[in-house]
Amino acid sequence: MSLQVEDPRIVEFDVQTDEMLVNMGPQHPSTHGVLRLLLRTDGEIVHECTPHIGYLHRCAEKIGEHLSPPQYIPYTDRMDYLAAMNMNLGFSLAVEKLIGMEVPEKAIHLRVLIAEIGRIASHLVGMGTYGLDLGTFSPFLYAFREREIILDLFEEACGARLTYSYLTIGGATHDLPDEIEMPDGLAALIGKHKGERLPFLDVIEIFLQWLELRIKEYHTLLTRNMIFISRTAGLGVLSPELAVSYGCTGPVLRGSCVDFDLRRDGEPIYTRMYKGYDFEVPVAPFKEAPREVIVGDNWCRFYVRMMEVVQAIRLVRQAIPKYKASTGSYREPFKLNAKLPRDEVYLETEAPRGQMGFYVVGNGEGNPLRLRAKSSCFCNVSVTDQICQGVPLADIPAIVGSLDIVMGEIDR
């Protein structure tokens, strides 16, 4: 017996097809901090995704107008707190450019060494939390196991584990330590040297050797995992034109097939640091990518980060002998109350999440007249609306996670 409906329109009216506004965040765990997304959905499909930011705003730029540059270094730590070393470096270089300071050779190699280890630590978090966004817990635990050792090493170097204020104007606050006690975490992982005192640079080399082997495991866990590929490949495709127009930088830009890295193409004061270093800039498309992958999708952005870790390991390996061989001081002195010249500079550096810019306007006083911090994540997250249209609701965390944002840097 077939079902008879007198008026076919009655069936249609039973199904609710209205658009719905869904609020996601600011406490949602997969938005990486206090990002609020306002989604206009039709059933499962998202038609509009409006990011709302500012929940962590503390007007760091206004604070900068009341402090001298060395006093402002700790505030840069709190911008991108996952890569605080790179934030310190960016601000220090901008001020050095303003006052025309030459940094000693030893300080340059120290900075490359520290900044690239910081990049590894930051990308490890990026990888681990991205797995968490996609519903797999184990890569997060492995990533934090490794990051913990980097934090141990940074603690030996400067005494802090998260907000270092280590790289400062003119160089660094201290020289690297000569000899340290082997961190317990690393000793337990490699199963030897427990409690021994070893040279600091040797401990770094031991750690890098151990980390290099782990990268293969991450690829097995995530990159080549079928579930991971089906959640990331072909999703959130960002075209090169859109990426450039929206000011995307860092792994997001390079994942969209734009070959640009400030360590190679930046201003002389920054590229001078990396002179004599041999490294590659990973750019999509990749030969080894699975066939589902489209240039500019989530998978490409993720893979650029993984490849950057390999390059950072190479850079640290090259920095160790250069640092050992270099002479001179680890720091050029800079007075706390030194007057800034009446000029203005803008300098961008390649932080792990993109190009972090500092614009410093001096006016013959100790405090800058204006201090602007241009955030890379701010630009990267502004493209969310463009790449989230027409995807199912469940893929929003996968796309936002692939941008690898830190709200402390966006809201400043």
Binding site: H57, V244, S245, Y246, G247, V258, Y346, Y359, R372
Partner: protein, 177 residues
Amino acid sequence: MDIQGIHAILVERFGAAVVGNEPFKAIDPWIQVSANSIVDVCTFLRDDPRLQFNHLNDLCGVDYLEPDPKKAAKFGHEPHIEVVYHLSSLKLRHLLKVKVVVPRWRNDVAGQLPVVPSVSAVWGIANWHEREAYDLVGIDFEGHPNLRRILCPEDWVGHALRKDYDFPLEYHGVRGR
């Protein structure tokens, strides 16, 4: 291309609307553009094959004012607001700084925000940067599709990066200082 070359191209095309701070002695030399022609100049800078400034690195406002009358004599600037555009070309690998100078208040009436045409149609990211400049420095970007506060709450009063900004005593029952 260096700043002299870019300046020559712009002067040839736009004439008196473009002023360079010659002889370009600053660390980052800049080119000053009148507010009315900023959209045309930016479109030209982006599209001209010799320049190709396809990337807007940063857009921000700077408030030049010394609120303390004792220090005002040493300050050395007339009170004004600058909107600073940092451009770069990812293809040709060169940089440019463009400035627009406007009065602190439109018609010198306190509370009336100065007007600068919006470049959000030229670069996508200008949309958010202009919202931030409106929020914190208080510049009205004419023609912006969605000029709302971005970092501060919608009902916030004042623009925090103005030099004469008064910090609020309280906000919705939360003590300010």
